[in-house]
């Protein structure tokens, strides 16, 4: 499977997880993505990869694994923005930017959005 396709699948799986209030089994995710005609093992692989990358948490429930997003979509957006605005405290930046402008209120809101995710 090529990288772009895999990336697109990861995104689709995350969207399923974000839309659900509760942790989901592989089977549940597979069912929600039924119209894509994916193999069950493909969904399982994608979920395992996402868990390895730290964006999905998993815990065992009986014989099945339950998967839940590690952070909400808004928290991820906040993390991206903080990095883009050089507000992560790490002064070497991984990015090259054009310009950035943020008011102090916006900066506070971003930090709060991320803190909410870190202390659930």
């Amino acid at each position: 499977m090529d990288v772009a396709k895999l990336g697109e699948l990861e995104r689709a799986v995350m969207e399923v997880l974000w839309a659900r209030a509760e942790p989901a089994t592989v089977r549940a995710v597979h069912e929600e993505l039924a119209d894509r005609g994916l193999a069950y093992t493909t969904v399982m692989t994608v979920l395992t990869r996402l868990a390895a990358k730290g964006v999905v948490r998993r815990k065992r429930s009986g014989r099945a694994w339950l998967y839940a997003p590690a952070a909400s979509r808004e928290e991820h957006v906040a993390e991206l923005m903080l990095e883009a605005l050089e507000m992560t405290g790490d002064r070497d930046s991984a990015l090259v930017r054009f310009a950035q402008s943020v008011t102090n209120d916006e900066a506070d809101a971003l930090r709060k959005a991320l803190e909410r995710g870190e202390s659930p």
Binding site: G7, E10, R11, M14, K53, V55, R73, H76, V77, A78, E79, L80, M81, E83, A84, L85, M87, D90, R91, D92, S93, A94, L95, V96, R97, F98, A99, Q100, S101, V102, T103, N104, D105, E106, A107, L110
Partner: protein, 301 residues
């Protein structure tokens, strides 16, 4: 002793070139030439500092640096405390500089991988029909940036798209593509890694911001060639105005004002000044300093 004197002379020449660069007004008209000179003189300075320490310390052996270093494990008891200390310091400084660069490369690579993953999960691709290839992050704060890598990504926030007109946005995207194409992150990274080694050094911080500004100016120039100067200048102006809004005093977080003003000024009034005649001279000095220090490592005496 002659070896160490050569290194010290090379280091002094490199420092003089750097000081000239820090003070020069011409650098804003010729960012690329200035960057080349910065890279040459910084490398020369580092090599000569390490070289001076080592050649002072290894001087009793009466050999070239590399052969003397090879001999060191067997003959170190011939050195007195001063010489041994200088060798130790030289090796420590050189080694730590290299290790620090590698550690920084690794942490940046990790940060980029994480950033790329999150983009893939939450960013949307800009519609193709406008010929734009940017990713859009849905957030009201205005930013535009380039995530470097094997396949670089250009990212704008929804806030930046709202802030800018179509022409301005195209100019900003051209600016980011210039960063990606010219691999500017590779120019900035070694200096940022140095700063991480000495975070309290105001001189290094100043050098770093100078390099970052010059890199932005290079990208501005390239974007201005394809999209015109005015859209880029007005985009910068909008970013600047947007940042200081909100009634709060412009803190560290607001867009750094002075560099942005300098970029706007040179876009609006390109002075087209010629490269100073001293530039080739300074280049020659920096190259000579670097070559001297490097050759003293290799040439057996």
């Amino acid at each position: 002793m002659t070896l160490a004197v050569h290194h010290v002379a090379a280091g002094t020449a490199a420092v003089l070139v750097s000081l000239w660069l820090l003070r020069g007004r011409w650098t804003h008209s010729h960012p690329r030439a200035a960057l080349v000179l910065w890279q040459l003189s910084s490398l020369a300075l580092i090599v000569s500092v390490v070289g001076a320490l080592l050649s002072f310390g290894l001087e009793p052996f009466g050999r070239g640096l590399l052969p003397a270093l090879v001999d060191l494990p067997w003959r170190f008891q011939e050195l007195d405390l001063w010489h041994l200390g200088a060798v130790g310091l030289g090796l420590a400084v050189g080694g730590w500089l290299v290790v620090n660069q590698l550690l920084c490369l690794r942490s940046t690579a990790r940060a980029r991988a994480r950033h790329r993953l999150l983009l893939q999960l939450v960013a949307t691709q800009e519609s193709e029909e406008q010929g734009r290839d940017a990713l859009v992050v849905d957030h009201p704060v205005a930013v535009a940036y380039c995530l470097p890598g094997r396949t670089p990504h250009i990212v704008v926030s929804a806030g930046a798209r709202r802030l800018l007109t179509d022409d301005e946005l195209d100019a900003v995207l051209a600016h980011e593509r210039a960063h990606a194409r010219e691999r500017h992150h590779l120019v900035v990274a070694p200096f940022q890694a140095l700063r991480r080694l000495l975070p309290a050094s105001s001189l290094l911080t100043r050098v770093c911001s100078t390099i970052e500004l010059l890199v932005e100016m290079c990208a501005d120039d390239r974007a201005a060639r394809s999209r015109g100067r005015e859209p880029l200048a007005s985009a910068l102006e909008r970013f600047r105005a947007n940042g200081s809004g909100g009634g709060t005093p412009a803190g560290a977080l607001a867009v750094a004002d002075a560099p942005v003003s300098a970029r706007i000024r040179r876009l609006r009034n390109p002075d087209g000044g010629r490269l100073p005649l001293a530039w080739p001279l300074a280049c020659a000095v920096a190259v000579a300093a670097l070559a001297t220090s490097l050759s003293l490592f290799a040439v057996p005496l």
